[in-house]
C-alpha cells in the first residue's frame, strides 16, 4: 500500500507521510459528496479536520457555551446569519464581545416542545443554527432533519445529545487565569477541547484553546506551553499524553467517548 521508505528518514516525516497517504486513501474511498466549508474561527484550525466546519453537518457542542459562541463567531463575522434555539441563558453581551454580530442573530429562547420544528424552519434560511434538544430525538426525525440540512447547506450545532451526529466537541478541562483565592478576577481561560466523531474527526483530539483569551479573543495555545499546564478535574496529568490515553480509551470503548465522559461528569 505504501512505498517503502528509506530507514534513514527521521520518524516524524515518515509519520507525516503515512498520515498524508492515509488521508489520500480516505479521500479516494469516500462515498460522501464533498461538502463546502463554513468559514470558521481560525482558532479551530488544529481542532477541526481541515480547520473548518462543513455545511450540512451536525456537530454536538457540549458543556460550554463559550465553545458554542466560538463556533458561531466565525460564520457570523463572515456576514452570515445565526440562530440560537432553546437557550434562554445565551449571554448576549458575551456573544457580542466574542465577535458575533447581534444584528444577524435571531434568538428563540422558549420554543417549548416545538423546538425541532423551529430548528427545521430556521435551518431552511439561516446557515448556522444552534439548538438545545428537549427530550429524546428519534433517529427518524434526526435523519429527516439531516437530509434537510444537507440540502440547504446548514450547519446544526447541538447543545445536547443527538443520534448520528457528525462530530462531538466538548471542553474536558479548563483552567482560569487571573483569579486567585480572594483576589484578582477572571481574565482568560485555557480549555482542552476534545473532538470525536465520524470519518476524519477520529484522528484529532485534545487541543488546547483560549476560550477566551486575555483580550476576549479565541486562539490556540502554542504547543510549547503545553506541558506546563496543570489541569482541573483530576483526569489527565499532561495534555499530550492525556489526549493519547483518552483517545485509546475512546477506541477501546466507543460508548465511553471523550465527550460522553465530559457530559457524564457534567451531569
Amino acid at each position: 500500500m505504501t512505498a517503502p521508505l528509506p530507514d534513514a528518514a527521521p520518524r516524524a516525516p515518515r509519520a507525516a507521510r503515512v498520515e498524508e497517504l492515509q488521508a489520500r486513501i480516505r479521500g479516494m474511498q469516500s462515498t460522501r459528496l464533498e461538502t463546502k466549508a463554513v468559514p470558521t474561527h481560525p482558532a479551530f484550525a488544529d481542532v477541526l479536520p481541515g480547520g473548518t466546519l462543513r455545511e450540512g453537518t451536525i456537530v454536538q457542542v457540549e458543556g460550554s457555551m463559550t465553545l458554542l459562541m466560538a463556533l458561531l463567531a466565525g460564520p457570523s463575522a463572515d456576514g452570515r446569519w445565526a440562530a440560537v434555539v432553546g437557550m434562554p441563558e445565551f449571554g448576549v453581551e458575551a456573544a457580542a464581545r466574542f465577535g458575533i454580530a447581534l444584528e444577524r442573530l435571531a434568538l428563540v429562547p422558549d420554543p417549548g416542545d416545538q423546538w425541532l420544528a423551529v430548528a427545521a424552519a430556521l435551518a431552511d434560511v439561516i446557515p448556522v443554527v444552534a439548538v438545545r434538544p428537549v427530550g429524546q430525538v428519534s433517529p427518524a426525525e434526526a435523519s429527516r432533519l439531516q437530509a434537510r440540512l444537507r440540502q440547504r447547506g446548514t450547519t446544526l450545532l447541538v447543545a445536547g445529545a443527538w443520534p448520528g451526529s457528525d462530530a462531538r466537541l466538548g471542553v474536558s478541562a479548563s483552567q482560569w487565569h487571573g483569579i486567585e483565592r480572594g483576589h484578582g478576577h477572571l481574565v482568560d481561560r485555557e480549555a482542552v477541547v476534545e473532538v470525536a466523531g465520524r470519518g476524519e474527526f477520529v484522528r484529532r483530539a485534545g487541543s488546547r484553546l483560549r476560550l477566551p483569551g486575555r483580550s476576549l479573543e479565541f486562539a490556540a495555545v502554542p504547543v510549547e506551553r503545553l506541558p506546563a499546564a496543570p489541569s482541573f478535574g483530576g483526569a489527565a496529568p499532561a495534555a499530550p499524553s492525556s489526549a493519547l490515553s483518552l483517545r485509546r480509551r475512546a477506541r477501546a470503548n466507543p460508548a465511553l467517548g471523550l465527550v460522553g465522559e465530559a457530559r457524564r461528569r457534567a451531569g
Binding site: 457555551m65 449571554g91 434560511v125 482560569w176 483569579i179 482568560d188 482541573f232 478535574g233
Partner: protein
C-alpha cells in the same frame, strides 16, 4: 397682476393640541395642562393660561407659575390623528377642505354660501357640525383670502370673550352661535386686519426692524409703497405686504380625501375562539391589503382594535419589517388575542368587533423587489416570520446590549419586527457603568437566578456584613435547583464541591433613593474544581448564581 382673493371660510378650534391630548388621554380640559416641545411650553389650557402660563415659557417657569400644571410631551402625530375625524365630519358638511394645520380648516365660501343660502348660514352649519363632535368654543371667520379669514375667526373668538354681542353679525344662528362668527364684508378685509400687529405676517427679525421703523400695525405696513417694500425686504417682504394689504394671492387648495383603507368587522353572534376569528377575518384582511395594492401602496404599520362582549377593548400598534401581507395581518390579530395565553385557547370574552387601521403606508416603489429577487435577509425574514406564526410574536427576538449593572438589564431582547429601543434614552451599553463587570462577560446568563450555597470550611453559610467584609473564606459551593443543561455535579453527600479560586465581594448599590427599586448586592466570582467559573450574587435572601462562565 392682482388676482381678486376669493371669499374664504376659516374654521378655528382654539387650543387644538390641548384638546387632542385631552381626547386621547381622557383628561379634563378645564384643569391646567401644558404641552412641552423641546423644553418650552408649546400650548396650554385656558386654566393654565389664567395662572400665567403662556406659550414659549420654560417648563420650570411654567411649573413655578402654576404648580398643579399637568405636563405632557407635545406630539404632532397625535394632533393630526385626532383631528382627522373632525376633518372627515366637516367634509360631510362642506366639501373641499384645506387643513391649514391641525385645528384650523380653510374652505372656499362661494359654494357653501349658495348651498346654505348665505355665508352666515354656512358658518352656522359648520359650527353645528363641530358642536355635534363636542368641539364647543370654535370660531368661524369669513373674509377675502385665507389670512384675513383666519384673523376673522380668531377675532370672533376674542370678541365673544370680551363683548359677547358687539361683533356678532351672523343673524341666523342665534345669539350664542352668532357670537362665534365674524363675517368681513367683501372688500373690507384690508380695513379689518389693519389694526392687527405686524408680527402676524413677518418673521421675528423683520418684525423687530419694522417696529423700530415705527411700523407697528398691518395697516401701517400696507401703507408703505409696494415697490419700496420689495426693494428693502425682498420677495418675502413683498408677500407679507400683499397679505397686510388684503391682496392675498393664496387660494384654498382643497385636499383630496385620502382613500379609506381601514376595515371593521362586526361579529354576530360574537366569536369566542381565535381560529374562528382568524378564519372569519381572512376575507377582510385580503380586501384590506388589496385595496392598498390597487393604489400602489403597502402598509408597514397598522393598529388592531378588538372589542369584546364585556366592553373591553384592546388596541395595539404592530410594525412590519417589510410590509403586511393578508396572512401577516391575521397573524397580528391572532397574536394580539393570544397575548400571553396559549395558541388555541378560548378567549376570556367573545369578540364582537375587530378593526384594523393602517398607520404607516408607503409607496410600493420603495419596496419593490430587486430584479433578481430579494437578498438573503429577505429569506431570513420569511423564516423568522414563520417561526413567529408558530410560536407567537414574542418568541423570536433579536438582541442588543443595553445599559445597566446587572447582567439581565444589559440584555435587551426585542421581538422580530419591532423597533429596537432608541439610543439616547440613557441606557446605552457602551456607556461607562461604574460597578459593572469587567470586560469578560459570562457566556450563560440565567434568566432566573439560581439559588446556590456558598459555605466556609465548617459548613456554615458565608455571610457579608454591612461593611462588605466576608465572615469566612468560602471553601465549598453547591448549586440548587439545577435545570436542564446545567453542569451541576453532585460530588459528595452535601452536593457541595470545593472552591478553587474566588474573588469578591464587589458591592453593587443601585437606586438607593428609591425604596421600591433599590438594590444592594455583593458579587463574587468563583471557580469550582471542574474549572467552571460562576458569578454569584449575595443579597438579603442569600446566595444566587447570576451567570456562569462556561
Amino acid at each position: 397682476m392682482n388676482v381678486e382673493p376669493g371669499r374664504t371660510i376659516v374654521l378655528w378650534c382654539p387650543d387644538w393640541p390641548i384638546r387632542a391630548v385631552c381626547r386621547d388621554l381622557g383628561l379634563d380640559a378645564d384643569t391646567p395642562i401644558a404641552l412641552i416641545d423641546h423644553g418650552l411650553v408649546f400650548a396650554c389650557s385656558a386654566a393654565a393660561r389664567a395662572s400665567g402660563v403662556m406659550r414659549g415659557l420654560k417648563l420650570r417657569e411654567a411649573q413655578l407659575r402654576c404648580p398643579e400644571l399637568a405636563v405632557h410631551e407635545y406630539d404632532v402625530e397625535l394632533d393630526v390623528r385626532v383631528f382627522e375625524p373632525v376633518v372627515r365630519q366637516v367634509e360631510q358638511t362642506v366639501p373641499g377642505v384645506q387643513v391649514v394645520r391641525p385645528g384650523t380648516l380653510a374652505m372656499r365660501a362661494r359654494g357653501p354660501a349658495r348651498y346654505y343660502g348665505s355665508e352666515s348660514a354656512a358658518a352656522s352649519a359648520l359650527l353645528a357640525t363641530l358642536e355635534a363632535l363636542g368641539l364647543e368654543g370654535s370660531g368661524v371667520g369669513i373674509a377675502d383670502g385665507p389670512f384675513a379669514a383666519e384673523q376673522a375667526a380668531r377675532a370672533a373668538r376674542a370678541a365673544r370673550a370680551a363683548k359677547p354681542s358687539a361683533a356678532a353679525r351672523g343673524a341666523d344662528g342665534g345669539a350664542d352661535m352668532g357670537a362665534r362668527v365674524e363675517i368681513v364684508e367683501p372688500g373690507a378685509s384690508a380695513a379689518f386686519i389693519a389694526p392687527l400687529p405686524v408680527a402676524l405676517v413677518t418673521d421675528q427679525r423683520t418684525c423687530t426692524l419694522l417696529n423700530r421703523l415705527g411700523v407697528r400695525t398691518l395697516g401701517e405696513f400696507a401703507a408703505l409703497p409696494e415697490a419700496d417694500v420689495r426693494r428693502r425686504f425682498g420677495a418675502a417682504g413683498a408677500f407679507a405686504h400683499d397679505r397686510a394689504a388684503g391682496r392675498e394671492q393664496a387660494r384654498v387648495l382643497a385636499r383630496t380625501p385620502p382613500p379609506e383603507f381601514e376595515v371593521e368587522q362586526h361579529f354576530e353572534p360574537p366569536l369566542d375562539r381565535i381560529d374562528q376569528l382568524a378564519f372569519a377575518f381572512r376575507v377582510g384582511a385580503e380586501g384590506f391589503i388589496q385595496r392598498m395594492r390597487d393604489v400602489r401602496l403597502v402598509c408597514t404599520g397598522l393598529r388592531v382594535e378588538i372589542d369584546d362582549e364585556r366592553g373591553g377593548r384592546s388596541s395595539r400598534s404592530w410594525l412590519h419589517p417589510r410590509w403586511f401581507t393578508p396572512a401577516d395581518v391575521i397573524d397580528r390579530v391572532r397574536w394580539q388575542l393570544q397575548g400571553a395565553g396559549m395558541a388555541d385557547a378560548g378567549l376570556a370574552s367573545p369578540i364582537v368587533r375587530l378593526r384594523v387601521i393602517p398607520e404607516r403606508i408607503d409607496s410600493t416603489g420603495n419596496h419593490e423587489e430587486g430584479l433578481w429577487g430579494g437578498g438573503p435577509d429577505e429569506r431570513v425574514h420569511h423564516g423568522l416570520t414563520r417561526v413567529q406564526s408558530m410560536l407567537g410574536h414574542d418568541a423570536v427576538v433579536t438582541a442588543s446590549v443595553g445599559g445597566g449593572r446587572m447582567l439581565a438589564d444589559r440584555q435587551v431582547l426585542v421581538p422580530w419586527g419591532d423597533r429596537p429601543p432608541e439610543r439616547g434614552a440613557g441606557r446605552e451599553g457602551d456607556a461607562p457603568w461604574p460597578g459593572s463587570l469587567p470586560a469578560l462577560a459570562p457566556a450563560s446568563v440565567f434568566r432566573e437566578r439560581r439559588p446556590v450555597a456558598l459555605l466556609d470550611a465548617r459548613g456554615a453559610d458565608v455571610a457579608i456584613d454591612a461593611r462588605g467584609v466576608i465572615s469566612a473564606v468560602p471553601e465549598r459551593f453547591a448549586v440548587g435547583g439545577a435545570t436542564s443543561g446545567g453542569p451541576a455535579r453532585r460530588t459528595d453527600g452535601f452536593g457541595a464541591r470545593p472552591v478553587r479560586a474566588w474573588a469578591g465581594p464587589w458591592p453593587v448599590v443601585e437606586r438607593w433613593w428609591d425604596p421600591a427599586a433599590a438594590k444592594r448586592v455583593h458579587r463574587f466570582q468563583i471557580v469550582d474544581d471542574d474549572g467552571c467559573a460562576w458569578l454569584l450574587v449575595r443579597d438579603g435572601d442569600g446566595w444566587w448564581a447570576e451567570a456562569r462562565y462556561d
